[in-house]
Amino acid sequence: MNDLTPTREERTAKLKGLGTSRKRVEDVRFTQGKGNYVDDVKLPGMLHGDFVRSPYAHARVKSINIDAAMALPGVIAVLTAKDLEPLSLHWMPTLAGDKQMVLADGKVLFQGQEVAFVVAEDRYIAADAVELVEVDYEELPVITDPFKALEPDATVLREDLEPGADGAHGPRKHHNHIFLWEEGDAEATNQAIDSAEVVAEEMVYYHRTHPCPLETCGSVASMDKVNGKLTLWGTFQAPHVVRTVASLLSGIEEHNIRVISPDIGGGFGNKVGVYPGYVCSIVASIVTGRPVKWIEDRMDNLMATAFARDYWMKGKISATKDGKITGLHCHVTADHGAFDACADPTKFPAGFFHICTGSYDIPVAYVGVDGVYTNKAPGGVAYRCSFRVTEAAYFIERMIEVLAIELNMDAAELRRINFIRKDQFPYQSALGWEYDSGDYHTAWDKALAAVGYDDLRKEQAAQVEAFKRGETRKLLGIGLTHFTEIVGAGPVKNCDILGMGMFDSCEIRIHPTGSAIARLGTISQGQGHATTFAQILASEIGIPADSITIEEGDTDTAPYGLGTYGSRSTPVAGAATAMAGRKIRAKAQMIAAYLLEVHDDDVEWDVDRFQVKGAPERFKTMAEIAYASYNQAIPGVEPGLEAVSYYDPPNMTYPFGAYICVMEIDADTGEHDIRQFYALDDCGTRINPMVIEGQVHGGLTEALAIAMGQEIAYDELGNVKTGTLMDFFLPTAWETPNYTTDHTETPSPHHPIGAKGVGESPNVGGVPAFSNAVNDAFRAFGLRHTHMPHDHWRIWKTANDLGLHG
């Protein structure tokens, strides 16, 4: 070795592997406007589809007259349920074991429901034709309240379901009931609560909202009748599952379907489901023999595709009088809308809501969730969360606050004395989960110290006194949250989507000159997979991340995987990437040993090379090994250097975090000012700190929106009151604060690189932090709980109800 020999540190730095804030490779094209989103796909002869949608929330469709629309020049077809029925495509299965109308079959069940699909030469003609389709409706009574839906004489919504017959998840106790799903020990929980020294009860409503990515949903279907191949581009968070579903629905063999997720302009759960637009674009392409594009507009998106939340969570939490929690009981009335189209693993109709014991060591607990039909849009997607985890985190973090009030105790201290201790991991929760790892006390103490918690409480108390003396109209709220997530679905033994086990995959090819391509079963929607998965691989196989291409989203080339949602990409596909990398390395070791003329066991891995043990000057770099694998006949070793891994995780991962929001509230105007937001995340091993920080900023801003104003609201006739971005709150740069991010690092013991996933933590933890701040501001005036979203009007109303307006 001489001075020119790169040091180990220099070789490591060159890889830009794990822990590097590597700049994103995606950005080069995005910043130049050269992304390729579904609406950018343009094919020769392509037609455009658009929906006639129901203006009513519940009505019979007596007749549909398409004559005037068909007479318009440029209109090629108008599809109705009658056209789809011979193909058995007028209904489609949902991910939740229910079925959903593709086009209105005799009736409509929510405003915005798809009634007819117009196909025309361009978008303008399609829009004109939509106006010309005459639909005769007979209005029916509308139910938008899930409690009213369960009244004995409530109107029957789903007339297609056989009365008294079981649903996909067991007995249905009412004609508008979907399922009762239970977990935990009801009897023991009731006993604990009945005999407790202190009990706090509260109804916590997590309102209906919507993921609303900036790009709406859409697809382009192209049926090539010459070779029998269907190609489908679309906004799919799970392209491989879409291919399987498309095959099952259409009868086209799966090898003749190619699904491509191009660049996706944000997903946040909105693009997990299968929507009528996808199906209609496929059918229209088959019928017309031409490519058909369908792109929903923003109103379609907010009205019809994939709401989130809408959980009425009635909770009871019990404790000793010094604050040790003894039991938790929760009953949820879950409004699923007109069809149960929740995007959850099949066996979990309420997702992973039973993570609702949160970060706390709670000896007994029970959860029961009643799913209910109403005249609202179907969906129930995981809006930047892992299947109802955000509902669970919001529920427990509100219950803790209410219990603190009941105990007249500091809410930070109440959390501290109930946290699962570090030495209790792996921890078996009362509701059946095995938490893999955690160190909550360390994170909590770090967070409280960072914001100067004790001083904040003193300042708050002083401000309350000043308020009472009439010296200020502002109140200070301190919003605390310690959340535990459950992500990375999941073990195939209990997690599947439509029967497909929730593994994920990675396939790697090392090229002769030492660069590589890796393909995964996931699909980025802004998470930066092309950047970060290359980093995982760089650290595993010693090829610089800059020399590794990452590809996802084309089912003809990528290995099968279940897609990207529920923060599962890093825990599952990231693990597959590491494991495939290790297979490459195992083969490389044999090749290196052969080239170095030593036994396999006499070489060892060092950053980017195998070297002879005890003689590091004798080595072969991965690039040299790759070349040799293509040009040398090595006895007993196949040529080439490729590997594939399908990874079935042994457990989920449990990221956690401590968030603190300091908010000033104007009691007279209901306005809020976020003075400080501190977010500590522990996502285990950190792959790219820059990307993690960006994810946290974005997720917190979504949480800000949800907590402070964003909702899908209906009037009693089932009209959507928040169908445009005028009414549906998306924060601008002006309303969004700066966030302080921080971290601890508790690696997952079962993940190959110890990573846990982070994309959804800030939404899951952020919502209770913002909401707790609002509630906390009024605690001194007797408030126990007020529902989100905390818009100016509702905050003003809270102040008014508490008599703060004199």
Partner: protein, 164 residues
Amino acid sequence: MSDKMHLKMTVNGKQEDLLVEPRELLIYVLREKLNLTGPHVGCETTHCGACTVELNGKSVKSCTVLAAQAQGAEVTTVEGLSTPDDLHVLQKAFREHHGLQCGFCTPGMITRAHRLLQENPNPTEEEVRFGIAGNLCRCTGYQNIVKSILAAAAEMNAAKEAAE
């Protein structure tokens, strides 16, 4: 449908002659007829700013501007800000400071920032936040977008000073 009209405009420095319907929107003509797919459609109601372009030196939401209103105008889209070999300072700054994630808002955001920095070459953080309030982003929480724009402003000002 009504009779088509003859539209002449300069887009990214290139003279364009087109036949359009009077009702066609500028975003539609840019994306569908000129294949400039940088600007995106996010809302069609002027709220999100994904379609932001420059029209005669002003930022406009091209989803609610009729193509006919661009008669004789100079239009600049994100594609007109740079060449692949010579990126604009803003484009580099957005990458450097992680000012984008899914990339859907980015062309509109950068086009808006480009105009903002011409209107106010040395903005405060508050002025940047106000200046881009017409452009929504769902991924970044804006913190790194603001950082990117402030960094680009500083770099452009430093380059200007060095040139003087």
